[in-house]
Amino acid sequence: MGVRDALAHLAGGAVAPVFAVAGGGAREAVAELALSPSVELVDSPAAASVLLVAGFLPSDLHTPLAALHDAMPDPRCTVSWPLGSDHGSMPLSSSRLRIGPDDEPVQAVTRAYRALLSGVVATEPPIQPDVDPNPWRGVGPYGQGGRGMTGGTPYGRPMAELGPDRDGLRLDVLPLSIGPFFPRFPAGLILDVVMAGDLVIEGRVADSPFGGGEWRPPVGPFVRALSEPVPVAEIELARARQHLRWASDALITQGLPAFAMRVRRLAVTLTPGHASSVRALSRRLRLLRVPQWSGAGVGRIAPELLTGLALGPVSRAAGLGEDARAADPAYAELGFEPIVARDGDAAARWDVRLAEAAQSLELAARARGQRTGGVGIVEGPRGRLGPDDSPFQRLQSLLPDLLAGLEWGDAVTALASLDLDPEEAGTVAARPSRAEAA
C-alpha cells in the first residue's frame, strides 16, 4: 500500500526505539549508547522496534530473552553486541545484525533500524512456539461457564487467591516475578514479590544468575587491586564514574530522563578536575528536591543490621564509618576521611554517593603516583570486595525485611538506592584465587 510505504519511509528517519538488555560487562557501553540523539532506550518491549542484546547472558536468561523478543510489536529485529564474549554463545544472534569490535555502535543500531523499516531486513517471526499455555476458554461469550472456572486456569493462567494483609481485610494478592529485564533494575536482577494492592507483602531478590561460573568477566581496577597495587588515581576515577552512573540510573527511576542524560555525559567525560562539577551537581539535585521527594524516610536500614557487612555507601549512609580505605597508608597520606551520614534512608545514600564521587575526584587529582596498599581487601564502589563474597550477596539477606510493607514506588526507590549489581557474583565466581582453589 502506498500510504504504508510512505509512512515507513518517513519513520526510517525517526529516533530508533531500542529495548536494551545490558548483560555482563555491557552496562557502561549501553549507557553510553543512550546518549546519542538518534537512539532512545525505551521502558517496555511494546514500545521498541529493536532489541539490543549486549554483553554476556547466562543460559538461565535465554528464555526470558526470547519472551522479551516476542513481546515486541512488528516490525522488530534483534541486534547482538558481544563486547568481548563469544559470538556463538550469544542468544538470538543473526549473522546480519551484529556489532563487532570495529563497528561504531550507534551507527550500527540506526543502520539496523533503518534497514528494518525500509524492508531490507524482514521483521523477525516469534521465537517461542505458538502454544496456548492453557487453551481453556469457557462456554459463554465472556469466558464464563463450563468446568474448571473457579480454581482453574482460564486463558492460560490461574486467578489470584486470597492472602494475609496487615490491615486485616483479606483480598487477593498478586505474586509477581519482576525481572530479569525490568528496565529499572540491572539485567539479571529478579525480584519475587507478593503484592496486596500496592503494598509489598513479601519481597525477595533471587540469587544472581551470573554466579554460575559460565562467565569470564573483564577485570576492572577494583578486582585487580585485590591481587596487586593499583594507582590511586585510576581506582578513584573509576569509583567516581560508577557513582555518577548510579546517579544517572536513579534519576531515570525518579522520572527525570533528560537530567539523567546530563549526568551520564558528565560520567563519560569525567576527569579528576571535575570535582567541583560533581559538587555543583549534588547541590543542584538537592535544590530540585530529588533526594528529598523520592527518598526521605524511604528504605531505611537500621545500623545494627549493617554492622560488619561493609556495604560501602549504604553502611556509611546509616552512620557506620566502615571503609577499607581508612586502613590504607596511601589514602592516609592523601588525607582521606570516610564520608558518613546519619539517616540511613535513600536520601542519605544519594548524598553519600555524590559526596564520595567528589571526594574521589579530589583524591585522584591530589595523588602523586600513590598505589593502593591493602592486597586482599578492596573498597569497591558498593562495598568491601573480599576474596569470597560480593556486596550483592551480603545485601540479599537484608532485603525481605526491607521490602515488607513498602508501597511499590518506594520499593523500587529503595532497591535503586542500594545499587544492587548481580554481575558482582560473577566476578567472585571467576576470581583467579577461587579458580585455582577449585
Binding site: 540523539p37 517496555s44 514500545a47 510489536p73 469466558g143 529499572r184 503484592m195 525518579q254 542524560m261 514506588g409
Partner: protein
C-alpha cells in the same frame, strides 16, 4: 452568540488540539535536549515528532492474553473527547468560544473529573499487573486533586459573579486574577499537572512501573494515548491562561494572539517543570493535597471574597 455551529466548533477545537499536541511534542523534545546538555537540531525538534508518529502508525498494535478490548479501545478516545470538551469551553477572544454555556466552569470541571475513568480504563483493560497498578495509583491521585482543582478555579468565579468562562475573563479587564488572587495560579498549576499526570505527578505512566498504564501499548494505541495526554495538558494550560492570566486582555495585539501567547507560556512552564522536578511519591501527594492544598485554596477563596465585599 454563545456557541459556534457544530462543524466550526469541531474544526476549531480539532485544529487547536492538533496544533497544541504538535507544539508539546516539539517543545518537550527541545527542553529534554537542553536539560540533557545535548545538541539541539532543527530536524530533530521539528521533524522528529512527525517521524516518530509515522513509526507508531506503521507498528503493529499489540494485544494481551485476555484484555478488556472495548475498554482498551475506549480509553484514549475518552481522554481525547474530554480534552476536546475542556478546550471547547475556553474562549479565544471576546465572545469567541466554541461553546459558552452559563455554567461553563461546571462543564470544564466535569471533563476534568472523568479523566480518572479514562486513565483507569487504560490501565485496567490490558489485564497486566504493572498497568493495573498504575490505574489504581491514579485513582488515589485523582480523588486527591479534584477538590483542590475545583476550589482553586472557583475563586476566579467570585469577581465575575458567574460560572461562564467568558464572564470570568471579562471580569479580569481591570486586573488579572494572578495579581488579585496570587495563590490561585500556583495552586492551579500544581493540580493542572496532577490532572494531566505530567512530569512530577506522572504516577500512572511512571518509569518505576516500566511505563505503567502504557506498558502493553504499541502502534497506533500508543500514539493515541500520548496525543490524548498532550491534548489534556493543552486544555489545562489554555484554561489557566483564560482564568488567571486575563485571557484575551492585553495591549497592542489582538485578543486571540494574546490568548495563544499566554497559553504557550503556561505550557512551557509546565513542560520545563516536568523535566526538572522528580516524581512525587503517591502517599506524599495524597497528604499534601488534602492537608495543604485544600486549606490554601480555601484561604484563597475567602481572602479574595473578603476583598470583594
Amino acid at each position: 452568540m454563545d456557541y459556534a455551529s457544530p462543524p466550526i466548533a469541531l474544526i476549531a477545537v480539532g485544529l487547536a488540539m492538533a496544533a497544541g499536541v504538535y507544539l508539546i511534542a516539539v517543545l518537550d523534545r527541545s527542553i529534554a535536549v537542553l536539560v540533557g546538555a545535548g545538541r539541539w537540531t532543527w530536524r530533530g525538534a521539528i521533524v522528529g515528532p512527525i517521524r516518530s508518529a509515522a513509526l507508531l502508525l506503521v507498528q503493529r498494535r499489540r494485544t494481551t492474553e485476555r484484555p478488556d478490548s472495548p475498554g482498551w479501545t475506549l480509553a484514549p478516545a475518552l481522554l481525547t473527547g474530554l480534552a476536546a470538551v475542556a478546550l471547547a469551553m475556553v474562549p479565544i477572544g471576546p465572545d469567541m468560544a466554541a461553546a459558552d454555556p452559563s455554567t461553563g466552569f461546571v462543564v470544564f470541571s466535569a471533563a476534568i473529573v472523568f479523566v480518572m475513568i479514562a486513565v483507569f480504563l487504560h490501565g485496567w483493560s490490558p489485564n497486566s499487573a504493572l498497568a493495573m497498578h498504575g490505574a489504581y495509583r491514579f485513582g488515589a491521585q485523582a480523588l486527591s486533586f479534584q477538590i483542590p482543582f475545583l476550589l482553586a478555579m472557583l475563586a476566579t468565579a467570585l469577581p465575575a459573579e458567574s460560572l461562564s468562562i467568558v464572564d470570568i475573563v471579562d471580569a479580569q479587564e481591570p486586573l488579572w486574577n494572578v495579581v488579585r488572587q496570587p495563590l490561585g495560579l500556583p495552586l492551579y498549576l500544581v493540580v493542572g499537572v496532577a490532572v494531566s499526570f505530567w512530569g512530577p505527578l506522572n504516577l500512572p505512566d511512571a518509569s518505576d512501573l516500566a511505563g505503567g498504564t502504557s506498558v502493553e501499548d504499541s502502534g497506533v494505541a500508543r500514539l493515541l494515548w500520548k496525543s490524548a495526554r498532550a491534548a489534556m495538558l493543552v486544555a489545562v494550560a489554555a484554561m489557566g491562561a483564560a482564568g488567571f492570566l486575563g485571557g484575551w486582555w492585553g495591549p497592542w495585539l489582538p485578543g486571540p494572539v494574546w490568548m495563544v501567547i499566554k497559553a504557550v507560556a503556561l505550557l512551557t512552564l509546565l513542560l520545563v517543570a516536568g523535566h526538572l522536578l522528580p516524581r512525587v511519591r503517591i502517599q506524599r501527594f495524597v497528604v499534601i493535597a488534602w492537608v495543604i492544598l485544600i486549606p490554601l485554596a480555601l484561604v484563597n477563596i475567602f481572602v479574595s471574597g473578603a476583598l470583594l465585599l
